[in-house]
């Protein structure tokens, strides 16, 4: 299966590049679109990991939902974020240091003790399995998630709608 490795590197490169643009970019709209690219990269990686349903949901929710919301917010607050506005605060050095430390710590630990988990056994079909597990083992979290969404809905409405009087 030699096509897999180059595909992985390609997707990883896209995702990493896009992520860096999001975090370091100057123009906020560029950052938003770069985020979309990162989401697509992750979706591609899900497909590589045999999680096709998740890849589809990723695109639907992240690209279709969250990014749209972010773009709306960018447009609504555009007066405050054009060019010429300072984008970085004073802590770039320190936080890059900490994040770098975090990253290397994780790499070190990972390298030290990766069990030999490279065997790929064909898995069952994705969607029916997810559906079944969701309705049986995870039915309580499923219902709680719906309450959580309701709470978020009510909250967002209360905070954002215009006062009637």
């Amino acid at each position: 299966m030699s096509i897999e490795l180059p595909v992985f590197y390609f997707l990883a490169a896209i995702t990493i590049g896009a992520a860096l643009i999001v975090v370091l970019g100057r123009n906020i709209v560029h950052c938003a679109f770069s985020l979309v690219l990162a989401f697509f990269g992750v979706a591609g990686l899900y497909v590589l990991l045999d999680a096709e349903f998740l890849a589809a949901v990723q695109v639907l929710i992240y690209v279709g939902g969250i990014t749209i919301l972010l773009l709306f917010a960018i447009m609504l607050t555009s007066r405050a974020s054009g060019p010429g506005v300072r984008i970085l605060n004073e802590q770039l050095g320190l936080s890059a240091l900490i994040a770098g430390g975090l990253f290397f710590l994780l790499i070190y630990a990972l390298w030290k003790g990766i069990p030999a988990l490279a065997i790929k056994v064909p898995t069952q079909a994705n969607v029916p399995t997810i559906g079944r597990v969701l309705m049986t083992s995870y039915v309580l979290p499923f219902e709680v998630a719906s309450v959580l969404l309701l709470a978020a809905l009510v909250g967002a409405l209360i905070l954002a709608r215009k006062e009637k009087d």
Partner: protein, 100 residues
Amino acid sequence: MVPLSAYLILSAFLFATGVVGVATRRNVLIIFMSIELMLNAVNLAFVAFSRFLHSMDGQIIVLFVMTVAAAEVAVGLAIIIALFRNKETVDVAEINLMKW
């Protein structure tokens, strides 16, 4: 054959990048985007573990994480709008009324 460690290292990098974004950027919306990067990194780790452990739990958890992320973004943007009505800024450095 892509080993698990490759996915985990990628995930770690994405997570660290997100952390830098949250800690350094001044624009609230970019901070949001960085948090989404962090959550995507976590999701990637879950799916990778799920694949290599032959367990569906990881993928289900990712569904829940996506749900929570969407809910958080909705409330977060509502807060930003409410804030913007009172003071026209999205710069966190300016929203620092309360010190020490």
